[in-house]
């Protein structure tokens, strides 16, 4: 029998190699700043941050599956929970709460309780329209796509834009049935 999925990522986070978050936060800030200079259009920066996140997500999922010890999620609700409590914790050291489910259980919100991407960040007025944390939505979209879930991930609340929290909307668009070249018990 598969081990029960751990409900928190605390133990995993305690066991992975960790680094000083300042380097992470400042590097991300410097990347966003350089992209704003080089790409000029805020919309294009949003798009590229999402793309970079996607590229990271499709690779990080392997590490997640290898180290988190979670078993297959039975539905999207469980998937969202695992992202909020295990995935975010394991990589960023934070968790999110899952709320605002729609009736058919295919879209929900992740409300981040804390967000290491934005420490020390203040946006100037010229950056209106920038989704500063867009890399994160890209990572989640990319990672889910690798486990056969096509999703749309968008920011609905952003404290850098004056909202009272960071809220990501996760919408499951399509679940691609997995086809294995082998049987489960082989």
């Amino acid at each position: 029998m598969a081990p029960l999925a751990p409900r928190t990522g605390d133990a995993v986070f305690a066991n992975v190699e960790r680094v000083n978050a300042e380097l992470f936060t400042l590097t991300y800030g410097a990347i966003v700043r350089q992209l704003l200079t080089d790409l000029e259009e805020v919309e294009e920066v949003n798009k590229q941050l999402d793309q970079m996140g996607y590229n990271i997500g499709i690779r990080l999922i392997d590490e997640f599956l290898a180290k988190s010890n979670v078993s297959r999620c039975v539905d999207f609700k469980e998937t969202a929970d695992v992202i909020a409590k295990v995935g975010l914790k394991m990589f960023l050291g934070v968790t999110a709460s899952v709320t605002n489910w729609d009736v058919d259980g295919t879209s929900c919100s992740l409300v981040l309780e804390d967000n290491p991407l934005v420490d020390f960040v203040e946006l100037p007025d010229t950056c209106q329209g920038l989704y500063y944390c867009n890399i994160l939505s890209g990572v989640i979209r990319g990672a889910l796509e690798m486990v056969s879930m096509k999703t749309e991930v968008t920011w609905v609340r952003d404290m850098l834009r004056g909202d009272d929290a960071y809220e990501l909307r996760l919408k499951l668009l399509k679940q691609v049935p997995e086809e294995y070249p082998y049987k489960d018990d082989e």
Binding site: R18, V19, A21, L26, G29, Q48, G93, I135
Partner: protein
């Protein structure tokens, strides 16, 4: 936010993705421009980190003291180890060697390929040393970090990297007179 940590793979994958975005997408036909942009990102990071790490310190009395700070405290904050060897010609050039540079140990580079850079025929070098080239692209980021950190300490300089003895990596700091 003292003590906050994230997983190392977050930082690694962000840096790797940043370098490949600049090399393959934003400046695909212009490696020199990509290198400058990657260095500029590092410079910004170094400037800010150095500002934060020296907030409660007295000013450094000379260049050597500042370089030693980079080799010990600054490097330890970033890589949990110090620079292994420091050399200087006493005329403004310093060589900082890390015997096992963390950001290179994650990459697979064939050491024989790095020698292709010295080949007489540049076209041979470009085809044979693709992975060495991509590794050298990655080194513009730490070079920028060192330059930014020293600039913040009032020391304008140029920084280059030498990875001919992998996984050791040397950073050459030339202080501008």
């Amino acid at each position: 936010m003292v003590g906050r940590e994230v997983s190392e793979s977050c930082v690694d994958s962000m840096i790797i993705e940043m370098v490949s975005s600049y090399c393959d997408r934003f400046c695909s036909a212009k490696p020199e421009l990509a290198a400058r942009r990657i260095e500029a990102i590092g410079y910004q990071v170094g400037l800010q980190l150095s500002e934060r790490y020296t907030m409660e310190r007295p000013r450094f009395s000379d260049h050597l003291e500042a370089i030693k700070f980079i080799c010990k405290d600054f490097w330890s904050e970033l890589f949990k180890k110090q620079i292994d060897n420091l050399k200087t010609n006493h005329r403004g050039t310093f060589v900082l060697q890390d015997n096992r540079f963390r950001w290179l140990t994650r990459m697979s580079i064939d050491p024989s390929e790095t020698n292709a850079n010295t080949s007489d025929d540049p076209s041979v070098a470009t085809t044979e040393s693709k992975s060495a080239q991509s590794a050298s692209m990655h080194l513009y980021f730490p070079c920028g970090i060192i330059r930014g950190a020293l600039t913040n300490l009032g020391i304008p300089c140029a920084v280059s990297a030498d990875m001919s003895n992998l996984p050791a990596c040397s950073f050459v700091v030339r202080i501008k007179a």
